[in-house]
């Protein structure tokens, strides 16, 4: 633990703060890209009820992909840089978000959806004004799962020469500086908890108190 609290490691262009920012950037940018892909897809399939097999197949298929292999393949194809890192991480984050969104929308009681149509909402209104707000606890469940995986897996960015907290882990391993390695691992864990807390806060802010499972990420 001495390594972690040494002021010398908390400054400079390779210091802990810089690495934390890099790691955090990988995380939020990955989640953003994954959300743009996974939420509309999960929502569309959940709403129409068509193509459920697509969600299941895609989710299982993507989950079976070894992230490290994806990373290396994309490096071989596109070279060292951010592209392979984001590709690998986005592929990791898409399945839980998509599955959460899909499951959340399917779980909205049919009578509520029937009422939404019956009072004269357009299909888009049914989805955005009724289904999604009620699906939010499960959608957040998907995001929290994805965020945890992305924060921990972003460590391997360092394996292909990129930044992030993985630098400490891989450098520590290479130089046999095990305190540095341990320090890096602890920082990843702390960051994971903090990111999860951010989602808990977001969930509290956005999920209506009337929704069953509000604030707990539970199901209905």
């Amino acid at each position: 633990m001495g390594w972690l609290f040494d002021p010398a490691h908390w400054s400079g262009s390779t210091g802990i703060p810089v690495r934390i920012v890099e790691h955090f950037t990988y995380t939020w940018l990955t989640l953003l890209i994954a959300a743009v892909i996974a939420v509309p897809l999960g929502a569309f399939v959940g709403h129409t009820g068509r193509g459920g097999f697509l969600i299941v197949g895609l989710t299982n298929g993507l989950r079976a992909l070894p992230t490290l292999a994806v990373l290396i393949i994309v490096v071989l194809w596109a070279g060292i840089g951010d592209v392979p890192v984001y590709t690998a991480l986005v592929l990791l984050a898409v399945p839980p978000i998509m599955a959460g969104t899909y499951a959340g929308i399917r779980a909205v009681e049919p009578s509520i959806v029937d009422a939404a149509r019956g009072v004269g909402m357009h299909e888009g209104g049914v989805l955005l004004q009724v289904e999604l707000p009620n699906a939010l606890p499960l959608v957040f469940g998907g995001f929290r799962g994805a965020a945890l995986q992305v924060v921990s897996t972003a460590t391997i960015a360092a394996y292909v020469g990129a930044g992030g907290l993985g630098r400490f882990v891989f450098d520590g391993l290479a130089f046999q500086e095990y305190d540095q390695m341990l320090g890096g691992a602890v920082l990843v864990a702390v960051l994971a908890v903090l990111v999860d807390l951010v989602f808990v806060g977001l969930q509290k802010l956005t999920v209506s108190p009337g929704v069953v499972g509000a604030g707990s990420g539970g199901n209905r």
């Binding site: 009578s111 509520i112 009072v119 004269g120 009620n134 069953v212």
Partner: protein
Amino acid sequence: MIEFRAVTKRFEDGTIAVDELDLTVEAGTITVFVGPSGCGKTTSLRMVNRMIDPTSGTILVDGKDVLSVDPPTLRRGIGYVIQQAGLFPHRTVLDNVATVPLLSGWDRRRARTRAAELLETVGLPAEFGKRYPAQLSGGQQQRVGVARALAADPPVLLMDEPFSAVDPIVREGLQDELLRLQAEIGKTIVFVTHDIDEALKLGDKVAVMRTGGHLAQYAKPAELLSAPANDFVANFVGKDRGYRTLTFLSADVPVHEIDAVKVGDTVTSNSWKLVVDDTRRPLGWLSPVDGSVEVTADRLIAGGSLYDGGTLRSALDAALSSPSALGVTVDAEGAVVGVVHADDVLKALAAARAAGEVPS
């Protein structure tokens, strides 16, 4: 007014839900579609606001073919109440009620003001507006459902088994409330139920439907009871038809005087005495006594149902349920007016028959 003209609905699997339905729902009345499950009553209702489109035939609402209007626009002009209420869990009660006005482009303030008015109309306290549906009982949720359907003041209201998920006592209260409300608002209401008692109670006219989507009989409740069109209808309306017919007759039943006594009086009599309080409200009966006796609370025998001057059924029930066989009649304040005899009810029924008031 809603007109069904040769309306047929055949589902993709080939089942015929509604078969050549011809029926007119008069403006300002409650029409009940009743029948066993699979008779097409809900399908018929849902074709009115295009939740389902007919395979063939035409449905006109106030002369306009529903198929000529796009569904969301059509539905905003037709109130829709469903089983379990179908309230939006994430919205407050007030915002639930304001849904249709907001969809129709009202500004938020006006929509909420209107919603608050409607909560009052359906008998809910204003502070319920801030609650979420999950915090309400089933009966209260259903009232909110009715308020939501009425928010944009549509001329037509579709109610799909709205009260079947609440317990019987609450259901009866909601039915009374609906009749009271309807007397005020005079909407054209189509009401679907599988409960024949509910149908007979609420309907100005009742359409009895049978499996396969056939209309078995379309008539006023009294007529269904006294002159069922066929065995199916006769069986469906049940065994107590004769007794239930009395519900729809309000003939004059002679009211006889009765000796009323108060607690503390001393009486000598060999007939039943009605015991009343200071405002002449009935407390109970005193059975015939030998010699004289003081009226005390512990000697009282509880009375039967009260006849409020309404239907023959309530007069007969008052007489039958009373320990003295005398049905107590009360005025609007609940004070005793007199008593009715069961045989007078039967005479009144005979008179009504003779006068042709009972369809046969």
